[in-house]
Symmetry: C2
Subunit: 229 residues, 2 copies
Amino acid sequence: MSTENEKVAIIGGTGPQGKGLALRLAMAGTQVILGSRDAAKAQQVAQTLTAQLAERGVQAEITGLSMEAATQAADSMVILSVPYSAHDATLDALKPLLAGKILVDIVVPLAPGNPKAVEMPAAGSVTEHAQIVLGESIPVVGALHNVSAITLNDLSRPINCDILVCGNDLASKKSVIGLIESMGTKAYNAGLAESARCIEAITPILIRLNISKDVPFSHAGIAICPPEH
Amino acid sequence: MSTENEKVAIIGGTGPQGKGLALRLAMAGTQVILGSRDAAKAQQVAQTLTAQLAERGVQAEITGLSMEAATQAADSMVILSVPYSAHDATLDALKPLLAGKILVDIVVPLAPGNPKAVEMPAAGSVTEHAQIVLGESIPVVGALHNVSAITLNDLSRPINCDILVCGNDLASKKSVIGLIESMGTKAYNAGLAESARCIEAITPILIRLNISKDVPFSHAGIAICPPEH
C-alpha cells in the first residue's frame, strides 16, 4: 500500500517520539501534521523538522496545528504519542473528532518514577483501554511501542528493529503496517488488541537493558528472527 | 562462567522442548538428567539422544530418571519443561527436593485450545506463581520461553534468537544466563520475575506469526537489536 501523500496526524508530535516519527514519515513521502495543545509550538517544531530535512535534501511536508485541528486534518490515521499521564484526557478530547479514522496508539504505561516497569490499566493494556474509550466504531491499533525516540531521530541509520502491530480490526492493522513499512522497517501483525499486554510491556525491558551495564549498546529494539538469522 | 560438567535436570525432559534443550546443553558439555513421571521412558529418551549426538561425534552425558530422582541429582539447576496443565502438580511434587537449587521455569501458560493466546495465572505469570509456590528460599528464574522446540532440535543450525531471563534473585539469574550462553546464544537479564508477564506472552505472538501466512518463515524467535543491527 502506498502511503505517499497520505495526511497523518501525530498528536503529541512535539515530543521526542513524535518528532522522530514525523521525520521518518515525512522522509517516506507522508504529509505529517503535528498536533499539540500549543498550536504555535507545533508550528514551530514543524518548521524546525522541515528545515532539518531540507538540509538532507528532503522536501518534507510537515505542518503544526492544535491537537483538534490536526486530528480533523488527518486523512485516515491519527497517531497518539503523548505521555501516559496525558493519554486519557487527550483521548476524551479527540474522541468526537475521530469518526471514520484509525487511532494508532503508541503510548506505553510506564510506572510513574520507574521506567523499568509498567503499570497496566485495568483493561489490560493501553491499546485495549483506548478501544473501550473510543467504542468499536473507531478502530484502535497499537504499534511503535518498542522503537526508541533516539533511534527514530537518528536519520543517519535505518530503524534497527521490527515493529509489532496489534488491534481488533484487520483492515486497520494493514493500513498501519503499510504506513510503518514505508519508513523502511518491518512490521508484523501481532494479533488482537490484547497482545498489547505483552507488546507495551516489552518497552520497560528494553529500557532496562539500555540503562544496564550488562550490554554494550543502548537504544535497543526487538526483532523477529527467522531460522536463517 | 563454565557450566562444563555441571549436572542439570530437565523435568519434562521427554517432551520436544526438553529434548531439544538436552541436546543443546549436552553438546555444550553439561551433564543432563532427564526427569519424567515415567523413569523408563526418560532412560529410553536419554539413550536415543545420546545416540543422536554420538552420530555427530559428540560424546554426551544424558541420563534418564524419575522426576524426583532427577531433581535430587541436579547440582544447582532444575529446568521445568512440562505442559502448563502439569505445571502446578509437578511443582508441588518437587518442592521438598528443591532446597538449595534454582528452579528454571520455561513454562508458557498457553490458553487451552488456543496457542495464539495466554491465560496468565492470578499471580501475573507462571514465573511469579512458581516463586510464590516455592517460597523465597528457592529462587525461580524464568527463561527460554520464546525459543521453539524445532529450533532447539535442529542441530544443523545455531539457535536463531536471544533469550530473555527474569527473576528476583540476581545471582541465580547469572547462573542461568551462563548455562544458556553455553549453548551459543545470547541471554539478557530482563528484570524481576514480573517481567515474565511480558516474556511468557511473547510466545503466543510468535506462534501466531509462525502459523500465519504473512511471514515467509516459521519457528520465529526474538532478538534484541542494538543500533548497529
